[in-house]
Structure formats: C-alpha cells, structure tokens
C-alpha cells in the first residue's frame, strides 16, 4: 500500500467544466463506489485567484488530515479559476459560484452516496460557504475564516489604542484634528466628498460584499435552526475589523446568537494562513471542532 493517501482528479459539473481532487480515507474501497450515506465530506474551493490547493497549500493539508480522520475531502476550482473552464451562464460570479459548490456536492454524492457536507472557506470562499449553506440543506457545517465582520465600539477603541501605542499621542491628536477639518470642509462644501481609497466600493469589505448585520444574524439563525454547525475564525490580519475574543458575543448578543455559534479569535494566524505554525494551528482547530460536532476522527 502506498504511504500516500489515494487522490483522484475529477472533472464535473455542466459539460465537465470544473476540476477537483477527491482525497479518500484509507478505509474507502480502492475500487468501485464507496456508499457511505452516513458520513460527511469536507469541501473546499480555491479562493479568489488561488487555485483549489488553497493558500500555501492549506486545502491539501486539511484534505489529507480529514482523510486521516476517516472523511472524504474534495478541493476544487470555481468556474474560470484554477484549472476549471468558464461558465457559459449569464448569471453573476456569485450565483455561478453557488452553483459550482452545489455541483461539487452532487459529484461527491453520486460517487460516494455521502449526503452531508461541511464547507470550509477563507474570506471570499467563507462568504460563499455561507451563501451555499443558506440554500442547500445538504450543508451540515460551515467553518469560515474571516467571514463577514462587524466592528463594535470596543473594536474601534482597541484600534485607536494600538495606534496610540505605535505612534504616540501626537499622532492621534493630529489624526483627530485632520478628521474634523475634513469633516468641516465637507459641510461647508469646500472639501472633497469622502471617498474610499482607490475608488473602492464602500459596501465591499476585504473584497467581499458586506450584508447588513441584521441580515447576517438572521441568516446564521436560519442555519442554526436547521442544525447547521458553525465555526467562525477571525485572524490577526483583520485587526481593524475584529480584534478581541468576545467581539462576536458583544456584537451579536441582541440577536440571541451567543453560545450558538463558535466564534474564535486567533490573532497569531494571518488572513491567508501563511506561517506553518498558523497552518497547523488552524488545521488542528478545525479537526477538533469537526470531531466534537460530528463525532469523527
């Protein structure tokens, strides 16, 4: 037997446009179909222009760790990205991406019989996981790194204090005065209107369109009511948006979500999970959470 796990390259979806890799657990039969309708599979797409193997090959690490724990894993490219071909559909990228993830679930289901899926994603692919979970009942878990974030008053205070520690009181006073001068100028009609840097869309946050907080809370509640397990991980790179362990609890208490969503703050990992120690930390956290919530591993 090879010391490496069995991995299979598949093309799937409409016209076999999409490309993915299935990692099989050692317990899976080496030939023929593995009918394990009681199991779950871990699904991961590429993120933005990073192909299916994930930032710094993180998706490969997670896929193989999941397979070691007895789970099937599937990493794949969305339409037009990585090695997948573009779609002929006229829908938006976001709509197409949801269809692509559902096609990935169809593919695994038809090959293995598995009907329950756990989606893992970072940033844009975390937002995608959430969108798919809302519309597809086969999703039983979502693990999202740096998903939608909503700063609280304490987040802003922490931000200011960090600048104070970095640059001293003079810099803070200067920033405060500049802000007020610009604001006064705008009110008098002599200043430039407030603009996002580089013409950014103010509704976009880290490249992801940010839904109103209430909508996100309601979406999370719908998922919880469906018994979807949720893990939100916030990295050290999003300091300006999320910067203390209880931020989710503070921000979502009034929506009744405290204790119903696992929200972690992991300042030692960065947004694309670059450091090897961070890769290991996140993978271990994910596998522990999967084990606790789904009784695997």
């Amino acid at each position: 037997m090879s010391r490496y796990l069995r991995e299979e390259v598949v093309t799937f979806g409409d016209g076999q446009r999409l490309v993915g890799i299935i990692t099989y657990p050692r317990s899976a039969p080496s030939h023929g179909r593995d009918r394990r309708s009681d199991g779950i599979a871990v699904l991961m797409s590429g993120v933005n222009v990073i192909p299916r193997f994930g930032p710094h090959r993180l998706n490969v690490r997670i896929a193989r760790r999941a397979a070691d724990a007895g789970l099937h894993a599937f990493r794949f490219d969305l339409s037009g990205l990585g090695d997948s071909l573009p779609s002929m559909s006229m829908g938006s990228f976001e709509e197409q991406a949801v269809d692509d993830v559902r096609a990935a679930m169809d593919e695994i289901q038809s090959r293995t019989g598995i009907e329950r899926f756990l989606l893992f994603g970072i940033c844009a692919s975390a937002a995608l996981s959430y969108s798919v979970a809302l519309v597809d009942p086969r999703v039983v878990g979502c693990a999202m790194v740096d998903p939608y974030m909503y700063p609280t008053a304490k987040t802003r205070i922490n931000r200011v204090l960090a600048h104070y520690r970095s640059d001293g009181i003079l810099s803070l006073v200067k920033g405060w005065i500049n802000g007020h001068v610009r604001s006064l100028g705008r009110r008098l009609g002599i200043g430039r209107p407030r603009q996002m840097p580089e013409g950014r869309d103010p509704n976009l946050d880290l490249g992801v369109r940010l839904p109103p907080k209430r909508d996100f809370a309601n979406g999370l509640k719908r998922l919880i009511d469906r018994d979807v397990q949720l893990l939100l991980v916030h990295s050290g790179s999003v300091f300006y948006y999320y910067n203390y362990p209880k931020q989710f609890a503070d921000g979502f208490r009034r929506f009744g979500l405290v204790g119903r969503v696992q929200a972690d703050y992991m300042p030692s990992i960065d947004h694309t999970v670059t450091r090897l120690a961070a890769q290991e930390l996140l993978t271990e956290r994910l596998m522990t959470w999967i084990g606790q919530r789904f009784g695997t591993g």
């Binding site: 390259v9 076999q16 446009r17 710094h56 960090a162 694309t272």
Partner: protein, 282 residues
C-alpha cells in the same frame, strides 16, 4: 458535443507516475495540429512563486496549444496537487520529476521533439535535469533562473518577513511581538512553504556550473533583471554544441503574497516566451 466538452478535451487534468509517487499534471492538446507540432513541458517555480505563476502557466499552455504544441504542466512532488509533503522538497527528486513529465508528454502526444520551459527554480531544475535526460530537450527556455543558491536563500528569508508584514497589516505595536518570531521562523519556512534542512543544503549548492552542464540543442535565457547570478551566466563560456540566446523581458515580482492579487499574467513575458519557442530554427 458543446464548447466546454471540446475545451476540456484539450485541457486534461490527470495524475501520472512520478516514480516513487503520483504527480498532478494538466495536458493541453494542440488545437489544430495533428500530430502535434512539438511538445513542451512547463516547470513551475517554488512555493509562493508557484502560486503566483499558476495562472500564467495555464494561459501560456493554452497559447502554446493554439500554436500547435502539445503542452504539459505539472506539480513537483510535495507541491500543488501532487503526492507528498512540502518537507519532502528535494531538487534532485524534482529533477527526476521533470524527466517523468517529459516521458509522460512524449507518451501522450507521440512527439519526438520536446522543449522545456522553466520559471525561477523550475528553470534551474530544468537545466539540471537536462544533463540526466535520455532524450535531451530540443529547446530549453529559462525564465529568470535561480543561479546562486546562497543568494536566493537570503532572498527567501527576507521575503518571508516582508510578505508577513504586509499580510498581517498590523499597527506597529501589534506587529512588534510577532516580528521576532517571524524572523526566527524565516530560517525554516518562506511565505508559507517549508524549507527543510536537506532542501536548503541543496539550494546552497546551486551555482552557474549547473547551466554549464546543460544538454539541449538550443538554450534561451529570458531575463527580467540582471543580478549577480545572471551576470555570471553571461560571462560563462558557451556550452559546446548549444546555441544560446538572451532575451530581455519585463521584470516580474513573483515573490510577494498579496491575497487579492496572488497571481499574475504578465502579457509581455508570455509573448516573449511564445515567440522564443515559435521562432526556434529547426
């Protein structure tokens, strides 16, 4: 058969035998020429440079396919979607992977004439592998090769700190506590990819002698920016029976880890590579 089926038939992802493990590859069938005009193996760079250049390699392969070349791109052992862990990185092993990819391309395409294109460390490994090839590559196109391994190791260390400073984006007070740790980690990893001691030793041994031992009919260096290593190559005596050419290309930065722009497709470089291959005199 719809458009997608036709396109996929020309771009086939698969796994192939790399000797001791299975390698991931994508075969791009030539669009019109039957049989293929010539085969081309694409050798990727290391680590974050491989992530950044993934899209460029796909576009390059598609362009070559339209020019009638059968093209194979692949992941070295322990990288991308191939078997193995990053800690198993080995220049000697990867040199054998180039030979396995060459054999796989010849088998699939039935081409007897195959050229290799390498980027950064992939270029250096291609040059190294050519010395061991039973069937030498026809043209060897080396884009910004790593020439002096010791210099590159220093660059890998520095780029790790620079990239992480950028990706954390923290105020100085928060960054200070991480900075020391990241400097220490830079001895054993670079921008998310491990640097095992055995791999670093292999890198440290790299120098211009690898390029002096190249075996092919035609050698083309495509250089974005001269560094001490490429200057040594330029001063080197010509290799017997190999016609060598130098092409100046726009400088590209393959190192950095910008999450929103982790991939680049420099059009002028692509055009230069395709032209250098297409214009090769028989």
């Amino acid at each position: 058969m719809n458009f997608s089926e036709t396109a996929h038939r020309r771009m086939l992802p698969f796994r192939f035998d790399g000797g001791t493990s299975s390698l991931f590859g994508v075969y791009h069938e030539p669009t019109d020429a039957t049989p293929a005009r010539e085969g081309v193996v694409l050798c990727p760079p290391f680590g974050q440079e491989a992530v950044r250049s993934h899209r460029m390699f796909r576009v390059l392969a598609e362009r070559l396919s339209r020019q009638g070349f059968a093209t194979l791109r692949f992941d070295f052992h322990g990288t991308g979607d191939s078997d193995g862990d990053g800690l198993e990185a080995s220049i000697r092993h990867w040199s054998r992977d180039v030979l396995a990819a060459d054999a796989e391309l010849r088998r699939r395409s039935a081409c007897s004439k195959v050229s290799w294109i390498g980027l950064r460390l992939g270029a250096t490994i291609a040059a190294l592998a050519s010395g061991d090839a039973r069937l030498n590559p026809d043209s060897l196109l080396l884009v910004d090769p790593i020439v002096i391994g010791a210099d590159w190791l220093r660059e890998l260390r520095e780029s790790n700190v620079t990239a992480l400073r950028q990706v954390y984006g923290l105020p100085q007070s928060e960054w200070s506590s991480l900075h020391k740790l990241i400097v220490e980690e830079s001895a054993t990893e670079s921008v998310g990819f491990p640097l095992a001691e055995s791999f670093k030793s292999e890198i440290a041994e790299l120098d211009e002698s690898i390029f002096a031992a190249t075996k092919c009919r035609r050698l083309v260096y495509l250089i974005g920016r001269d560094d001490p290593g490429t200057l040594r190559l330029r001063r080197m005596a010509p290799v017997a029976n190999i016609s060598a050419a130098w092409v100046q290309v726009p400088e590209s930065n393959w190192k950095f880890d910008d999450p929103a722009n982790a991939s680049m497709v420099p059009s002028q470089l692509l055009a230069a590579v395709v032209a250098a291959l297409s214009d090769a005199p028989a």
